[in-house]
Symmetry: C2
Subunit: 390 residues, 2 copies
């Protein structure tokens, strides 16, 4: 029995509309997953994530952050991450690989794993495929990611090849440790569908920086190991955007057709739509939340910086096409005032709107694929985005 079920219901070119069923419920794809790094999607209450405004079916948690703080003992005592944070829908956890890689000089990579200093208390920590699987088992996320090694966007062929090979060996170790942990565990969360195993699901990650030959090798080796879903990692890490799309366009259509395809850490609304056009099913990105906190709104007519003096008396909502609770109630003039005054409500409201815009964009994407209108949606969406010229 499989840990999750996935099937494509409609395809329009490479774009796919499907349904991913995890043990916590049914998720229509393509799907955007808000990032809940430390057990909270920053600035937003779970009630809002569940509201019809947003209706996020799955959110992310970060193994690295949660492992360091509050620590696995606390989350284990609470009965897993769902119970700890009070969220009953699906959770995906990353492996910590990317966060540790982001520490740069503070980490030391060996065959065994990665040694690094905690950003919280400076203590020396060691993360490996086995530790990451152990932590993610304790978190009890519905989708677990393998522990991988990320090559920098501009990495040489030689450096990337070494990294890809290490990622493959770590993927094998991740799967072995994961399988053992699933055997050991009885707790499976509640079960959405009778034909699911009730265990966590495990996704593999293909790396390879900007080298298409290595990307293909990494994908092949990952698929050979065999996972419940497959991710493209190591993009949006400083490379040119055209290179990113070259990789997606080459790799995505080669990924297994009957498994979900997850593009990690990407991207802007237009990136999402363009990646869907190349066959991607799942996304996560901090942009809607992070940029909301710094005063940037994503709208159907492009980005809007709420700090700009031009909004001082503007009685329009952030996005005149948006039906979210923020756009129904508040003006740009008010949101600008909140932001300029340093009021927390500015972050709260911009985060809400940005998430609504990302999630609504994905709803539009799904509907257009199902109705066979995705090319039209994509064209009009892209044209509108340029309207403000910002």
């Amino acid at each position: 029995m499989r840990a999750l079920r996935f099937h494509i219901e409609r395809q329009d070119g490479e774009a796919r509309a499907g349904v991913l069923t995890t043990r916590r419920g049914r998720i229509e794809t393509p799907v955007f997953m808000p990032v809940g790094t430390a057990g909270t999607v920053k600035g937003i209450r779970f009630e809002e994530l569940e509201s019809t405004d947003l209706d996020a079916k799955i959110i992310l948690g970060n193994t690295y952050h949660l492992w360091l703080r509050p620590g696995i003992d606390v989350i284990r005592a609470a009965g897993g991450l769902h119970r700890f944070i009070g969220w009953d829908r699906a959770l995906l956890t990353d492996s910590g690989g990317f966060q540790v890689w982001s520490l740069g000089a503070l980490r030391k990579i060996s065959e065994e794993g990665t040694e690094f200093r905690s950003h919280v208390d400076g203590s020396l920590r060691f993360l490996s495929p086995e530790v990451s699987m152990e932590v993610q088992a304790a978190l009890g996320s519905d989708i677990v990611m393998v522990f991988d090694e990320c090559a920098p966007g501009q990495a040489s062929h030689e450096e990337t090849e070494r990294s890809v090979n290490l990622t493959t060996r770590w993927a094998k170790r991740s799967k072995a440790a994961f399988n053992q942990l699933q055997l050991d565990r009885a707790d499976t969360g509640h079960l959405e569908a009778k034909d699911l195993s009730g265990t966590q699901a495990l996704f593999g990650i293909a790396q390879g920086a900007g080298h298409l030959d290595l990307r293909r090798i990494s994908l092949d080796e990952t698929v050979n190991i065999g996972f419940d879903g497959y991710a493209i990692g190591g993009l949006s890490v400083g490379e040119e955007k055209s290179l990113m799309f070259d990789v997606i366009e080459d790799v995505a259509p080669r990924m297994p057709k009957d498994a979900p395809r997850y593009l990690m850490g990407v991207g802007t609304p237009e990136d999402l739509v363009e990646a869907v056009a190349r066959g991607v099913d799942m996304f996560d990105c901090v942009l809607p939340t992070r940029n909301g906190r710094t005063g940037q709104a994503f709208t159907s007519r492009g980005k809007l910086n709420i700090k700009n003096a031009q909004w001082v008396n503007d009685s329009r909502p952030l996005d005149e096409s948006c039906r979210c609770s923020v756009c129904r109630r508040h003006t740009r003039a008010y949101l600008r005032h909140l932001h300029m005054t340093g009021e927390m409500l500015a972050s709260i409201l911009l985060t809400h709107h940005n998430l609504a815009f990302f999630l609504d964009t994905m709803r539009g994407v799904r509907q257009s694929i199902r109705s066979g209108d995705f090319p039209k949606f994509r064209r009009e969406f892209t044209e509108r985005l340029g309207a403000n010229g910002e």
Copy 2:
């Protein structure tokens, strides 16, 4: 025709349960008003303030803060404070007198008014009864406060007498300027009841620091001028709590019985209940919001500091007797984690719970007065508050 209607429906000792009808709606008293300094009750969305969890019928705005930022031109252009912030229920604005007084050395008081430097941009500003009334007319609040002068808690009799006399003269000028402004204005907000004038209401403020004779004089002079409601100002500004209650106990029962009595800037939940027992009808205080942001929760068993290590694995809600959305969903362990990690959600959730506790306490107060059980409510409430011994 009067600007508001107020009548007592039930009295239990000095405690009064009544109904205050402003042009924006019906407010059951005793009532607690959350403080929305700069056009936002910090950390909470208006939807939550309106929700059954909180159901705040009236909130405060600060003339001083809004006058400096975003400035009256912006709020006027938006059509008043209600429209600017997106809040259709009642608003009370203070006069700026207290904020300017709080600036200490940065201000210079004369017969004409107060000169001070803006905390925003350092510019020299001048606030007087006439300016305050002009600003509050532009804000369009439903209840306007006179521009007063606050004597320090430990002020001498001579100093306080001078201050009280100035406050009386400023109250007369406030009323004259206010009346002229009401004549000049057509816009009245929507009208709740046919027998209301549709103008703003104006409250007078009795000062007098800790000197009961001056308190009585100030009250008499204020009542002689004649206002829609009467406030006790200049308490909770550093004086002993016993002195504060001496003043309230002496002054409140002498205030007009047929007008709302407002105790400004007070206080803790127990202060509120004790002041109700002495005949007060209206309260505002920053404690639930400000302390929520620093990790302090108000509960039926006393204060709770969410930072404490004892909560690290505590699966109980903040307050086991509370039915607010935070207590229904989240544990102390999770809230502690959010606070220790510096997550905005900690402030959001603690603010929500604290406001729920204050507003729920006032609901309990009103019900118990109406059922003649206020003494029992007061006794049990006070006993429970000491339960945690914190």
